[in-house]
């Protein structure tokens, strides 16, 4: 069943028949399918690694209206994978760059450049104008927000997610199958999983996963049978393996289960544990300049570099003891609790995980987190070092 109602279909022009002939030749798409594609309105959330191939392939396919929502600006480090942006787009809004590329590729597409992040306050209003949403976000707040808003509005949510070499894709369509909450009732607590900014990502991975999402969008539009509803596709680009797992609808799902309790978008910062709770002991921090001053003073400090060897090879931190994050609890005995320990990583995020792991392992010494990590040292102290 197509998600595009028949009432919106109009005839194709001769130019369109030529342009989309390779679709028209497929009996699964044909003239009627192409008319549906042209009538379709698809919202892409996130103009990044996943959003780039999504936007390009959907534009090439002739999707009538493509909305792109993203509040970010193009940075040099995006260009390794976000192929909708170019070097000349650095510092431009991502949606402006995406809009230009879509228009150049296919001027018949009506592009809505939505230069803000989706929030609980605007998501329902934005999504209600679309037939399908493709989720190309990089954070749990927006992921649950999209899931909830789509289920509440009855819109299918074509999901993709990536990390390092691995991707996931599925279609969450609460009317016909499970939603993201049925699979993952709650997100990981912050401080347990590193982001791609820290963990890295192979550039072609979002190209593959985003293209899978684009294929699922087209199938929902033309009414393909075997969509990813109720199936989780796992992809490992390093082993070059696909796997498929079943996702069942959860009868207890608070959104799409038998006794729902969610009827409007909620506070996702709170849900994802991003608001500090009163009982949580804050981690002590130290700035790069403060650390430099203490070292220059000749103070005894244990510097602990929690990065892995391949990452230390990018920028070495002078005179630090190296204990990778993944070995922290079992190597706690190598630290001297009588001396202050300063933990460092790339941007000061995983070093917090290291401190939490040692707290749990019962380490009693004073622990400080190098704020903004080795990048801050390169920015404020040793300007000859690169930031990465």
């Amino acid at each position: 069943m197509s998600v595009i109602p028949d009432g919106r279909l109009a005839d194709l022009s001769n130019e369109e028949i030529s342009r989309y002939s390779r679709h028209l030749l497929l009996p699964e798409i044909g003239v009627e399918g192409q008319r549906r594609i042209r009538a379709a309105k698809v919202l892409i959330v996130g103009a990044g690694g996943l959003g780039a191939p999504l936007a390009l392939y959907l534009a090439a396919a002739g999707v009538g209206v493509i909305g792109v929502a993203d509040g970010d600006f193009v940075e040099a480090s995006n260009l390794q994978r976000q192929i909708i942006h170019s070097s000349k787009d650095i510092d431009r809004p991502k949606v402006a760059s995406a809009r230009d590329k879509i228009r150049a590729l296919n001027p018949d597409v009506n592009v809505a450049a939505i230069g803000v992040s989706l929030t609980s306050a605007n998501a329902m209003e934005i999504i209600k104008d679309y037939d399908i949403v493709a989720d190309g976000t990089d954070n749990y707040q927006t992921r649950y927000l999209i899931n909830d808003a789509c289920a509440l509005l009855g819109v299918p949510n074509v999901y993709g997610s990536i990390f390092q070499f691995e991707g996931q894709s599925s279609v969450f369509y609460a009317k016909e199958g499970p939603c993201y909450r049925c699979l993952y009732p709650s997100p990981p607590p912050p401080g347990l999983v590193p982001s791609c900014a820290e963990g890295g990502v192979m550039g072609v991975l979002p190209g593959i996963v985003g293209t899978i999402q684009a294929a699922e969008v087209i199938k929902l539009i033309v009414g393909g049978n075997d969509s990813l509803i109720g199936r989780l596709l796992l992809f490992d680009a390093w082993k070059m393996k696909f796997r498929e797992l079943k996702i069942e609808k959860d009868a207890n799902c608070p959104l799409c289960g038998e006794h729902p309790t969610i009827f409007a978008p909620i506070d996702y910062e709170r849900f994802c544990g991003l608001k500090k709770t009163a009982d949580e002991k804050p981690v002590e921090t130290i700035t790069a300049l403060e650390l430099k001053a203490r070292l220059d003073n000749g103070e005894k400090i244990q510097l602990i570099d929690i990065r892995e060897p391949h990452e230390r090879a990018i920028v070495k931190f002078p005179d630090a003891k190296t204990i990778p994050l993944g070995q922290m609890s079992r190597r706690a005995g190598e630290l001297n609790p009588d001396i202050d320990a300063v933990f460092l990583c790339k941007i000061g995020q995983r070093s917090v995980f290291a401190i939490r792991a040692l707290e749990e392992a019962g380490y009693a010494g004073r622990m400080l987190n190098l704020r903004d990590g080795v990048n801050a040292w390169a920015r404020d102290v040793d300007k000859n070092l690169p930031q990465y």
Binding site: D72, E166, L183, P187, A197, L325
Partner: protein
Amino acid sequence: MAITILIPTALRAFTDRRGEVQAEGKTVGEAVASFAKAYPDIRRHLYEEDGTLRSFINVYVGEMNVKNLDGVDTRLKDGDTVTLVPAIAGGRV
């Protein structure tokens, strides 16, 4: 029972980068526990403070989620493969 546990990239920092580890157990709960014992740094990623498995990691035996079988009590056969499938959240960055 000899069980193979497949480790996703997101958790390989805690398994010395191994993508596949061997474990022992008659049930899913036992197999995961024997694996966590061998790699203690992964414990806090797998378990809540009360000892239940964290809800952002799904455990699959074959292509079935153990949530839809008998949970951690799901019986395993010799040679079974258990896959850990955590939530991941990259894409836009």
